[in-house]
């Protein structure tokens, strides 16, 4: 598909023409973001790639401004954040946009991932595209975790304690690895300093992997709600203006919800305890990570054994890497998979349920509920998907995208 873009563009502007002849960035933009043939049948779930990109840029922009005012030292970090909130002109705006932005970045990415799962976007020839996406998710998690430590509140400190202590579960070398991560024998100033350095570095690594993700996307083009490849020009539209405009609309609607939280309930998604300065001598009654980690936190605690819990938690992401090979069905879109179609929403409910388990102390029925949820999560990927591909009888696929679109309109 990438090769069928037609003749190279001619630029009327002499300067652009001169540059493009030597460094073809303008031809590249023309080809990849203007004429790029894109399936004509996207629904609004296809907005979330663009939305996630906008959030990434927004996080980096606000983050750089925050970094110019923040002090990464255990005795000053908390007060320096409060100084941003109080004395830096519009500091409250930048800080709340960044803080709420992290949550909305994850919301966008989680929807983007579930969309990919429902419509089978990870299947051949897009396996590497998917794997790069999982790498981005992992990098985002590391970045978000370290960012949450920076304000040096109670949840920052104790969240960091819980998560870094996971590495002590590794046999033999666990303790040494943890000491190495901390830069000492307890979480202290060296830990805060390196988390700050990495929190600044990793977003740019994410940008790099996003670039690869986009390159991989533009080799075979986007998947679409029907999950069948475009067969000709009647099945596609040029990316611009059709999808630039549709993405622009979707991004704006998303930003309205985001602004609603950032301006009117900026602390709603956070934990009140993080406005208490970190105190290594006082453990909060109830340590919880940020909401976007809760399902994974529930999986971690569902296994009674520490090492087992750590393996299960990392395993819950690891299965995503091999998802393209776990799903044995050759049909991509759940629209034509009568059974899978129902199990996808069940997986979403399962993950939300795990999130609820992660938010509550591991007592009473929350423990078995988290265990059932964990079991189901792995059942979905490791048993259901391989078996379903063999026993499910898919519905007949439409002959082409245009055919399906026109039929839908007629009917």
């Amino acid at each position: 598909m990438a090769s069928s873009h037609g003749t190279p563009p001619v630029f009327n502007n002499k300067v652009i023409s001169w540059i493009d002849h030597r460094l073809p960035i303008f031809s590249y933009m023309e080809k990849e973001y203007h004429h790029f043939p894109t399936p004509r049948n996207f629904n609004y779930f296809w907005n979330f790639g663009a939305i996630a990109t906008v959030m990434l840029v927004l996080m980096i922009a606000t983050g750089i401004v925050l970094a110019t005012n923040y002090t990464p030292h255990t005795t000053m970090a908390f007060d320096s954040v409060e100084r941003i909130m109080r004395d830096v002109p519009s500091g409250w705006l930048i800080r709340y946009l960044h803080m709420t932005g992290a949550s909305f970045f994850f919301i966008a990415v989680y929807i983007h991932i579930f969309r990919g799962m429902y419509y089978g976007s990870y299947k051949s020839p897009r396996e590497l595209l998917w794997i790069l996406g999982v790498v981005i998710l992992l990098l985002m998690m590391a970045t978000a975790f370290m960012g949450y430590v920076l304000p040096w509140g109670q949840m920052s400190f104790w969240g960091a304690t819980v998560i870094t202590s996971l590495f002590t579960a590794i046999p033999v070398v666990g303790d040494s690895i943890t000491t190495w991560l901390w830069g000492g024998f307890a979480i202290d100033n060296p830990t805060l300093n390196r988390f700050y350095a990495l929190h600044y570095l990793l977003p740019f690594v994410i940008v790099g992997v996003v670039a690869l993700h986009v390159v991989a996307l533009h080799v075979h083009g986007s998947n679409n709600p029907l999950g069948i490849e475009p067969k000709g020009p009647q099945d596609t539209v040029p990316f611009h203006p059709y999808y630039t405009m549709k993405d622009g609309f979707g991004v704006t609607v998303f930003l309205i919800v985001y602004a609603g939280f950032a301006f009117f309930a900026p602390n709603y998604l956070g934990d009140a305890a993080n406005y208490i300065p970190a105190n290594p001598l006082v453990t909060p009654t109830h340590i919880v990570p940020e909401w976007y980690f809760l399902p994974f936190y529930a999986i971690l605690r569902a296994i009674p054994d520490k090492l087992g819990g750590v393996i299960a938690m990392f395993g819950s992401i690891a299965v995503l890497f091999i998802l393209p090979w776990l799903d044995t069905s050759r049909v991509r879109s759940a629209t034509f998979r009568p059974i899978y179609k129902w199990f996808m929403p069940v997986l979403v409910i399962d993950v939300i349920m795990l999130g609820a388990c992660g938010a509550h102390p591991p007592e009473g029925f929350w423990v078995p509920l988290a265990q059932v949820g964990t079991l189901y999560y792995f059942f979905h990927f490791l048993i259901l998907l391989p078996v379903l591909g063999k026993i499910e009888r898919p519905l007949p696929l439409p002959p082409s995208i245009a055919d399906a679109v026109l039929k839908k309109k007629a009917g």
């Binding site: 409060e82 609603g260 301006f263 509920l369």
Partner: protein, 266 residues
């Protein structure tokens, strides 16, 4: 066969959804017992603002009562001008306050507070604060309203939620092993709190004629501390209204353009 699997899947989904709903209900039921009453605050809602008169009275309560033990170290006296007080009024409020400093020859001295000074701390350091308060330093109040779940109602509930020993039921005394010298508070986790009841009717004299009931004093100091926790809230909400109006207009425009662009494809 296929129908069975589909029905099973739907059943599983319904069951989990039900379980989550039940779980959510039980949790609220067990936690509401100690939830403070939900009051209406002047700063609630998307257009809420701070009640300046109440916040000024709240400063008086803080200065005359709370500041004996609790610091407010993220605030400076100049910040009080944001509560509709003039520079001279603030200077009048702080004229008797002495703050520690160093003299020109490096000796520790006390001098009158200036507008640019941070609020005076009641104790020179956390160890001294803890030593003077049975081993536990009273927390700083700068962001207290944000540092507790449902902060305004919690702090108000805490200040008004003391139960004298002779009003406790035998079950409460037994369950929480309360002795006569303990301070029992309905809303404090674990109920036994180090702080004795700080406020009472007529604890302060308000200059504006407001009747200083316990409830009034508590509400006023919450209004003051809410402002102290989030001094730019009004600016934030005003900006938010403008941002959202802009984005709504923008979304409408984008939608119209998108429809126009797509009109030949639908």
């Amino acid at each position: 066969m296929r129908r069975t699997i589909v029905s099973a899947a739907i059943a599983v989904a319904a069951l989990t959804a039900g379980a989550v709903a039940i779980a959510a209900e039980t949790v609220t039921a067990s936690e509401t017992e100690q939830d403070p009453p939900h009051l209406h605050w002047h700063f609630d809602g998307p257009f809420g603002t701070y009640d300046r008169a109440a916040a000024q009275r709240g400063y008086q309560v803080y200065a005359e009562v709370c500041s004996a033990c609790h610091s407010l170290q993220l605030l400076a006296y100049r910040n009080l001008m944001e509560l509709d007080l003039t520079e001279n009024q603030v200077k009048g409020l702080i004229k008797d306050i002495q703050v520690p400093d160093l003299s020109d020859d490096g000796q520790p001295i006390e001098r009158p507070a200036r507008l640019s000074d941070s609020f005076r701390k009641p104790f020179p350091n956390p160890a001294a604060a803890a030593a003077a308060n049975n081993g536990k330093a009273p927390p700083d109040l700068s962001v207290m309203i944000k540092a507790r779940e449902d902060g305004p109602n919690y702090v108000h509930g805490l200040l008004t939620g003391y139960v004298p020993f002779d009003k406790l039921t035998p079950e409460q005394i037994k369950e929480f092993s309360v002795v006569k010298d303990d301070n029992f508070n309905k809303y404090f986790p674990g109920h036994k709190i180090g702080m004795p009841p700080p406020l009472a009717d007529d604890k302060v004299q308000y200059a504006d004629g407001t009747k200083p009931t316990l409830d009034q004093e508590a509400s006023d100091v919450v209004q003051f501390l809410a402002w102290a926790s989030e001094p730019h809230m009004e600016d934030r909400k005003r900006t938010g209204v403008r941002v959202i109006l802009f984005l709504l207009a923008m979304a409408g425009l984008m939608y119209a353009v998108k429809r126009q662009v797509w009109s030949d494809k639908h």
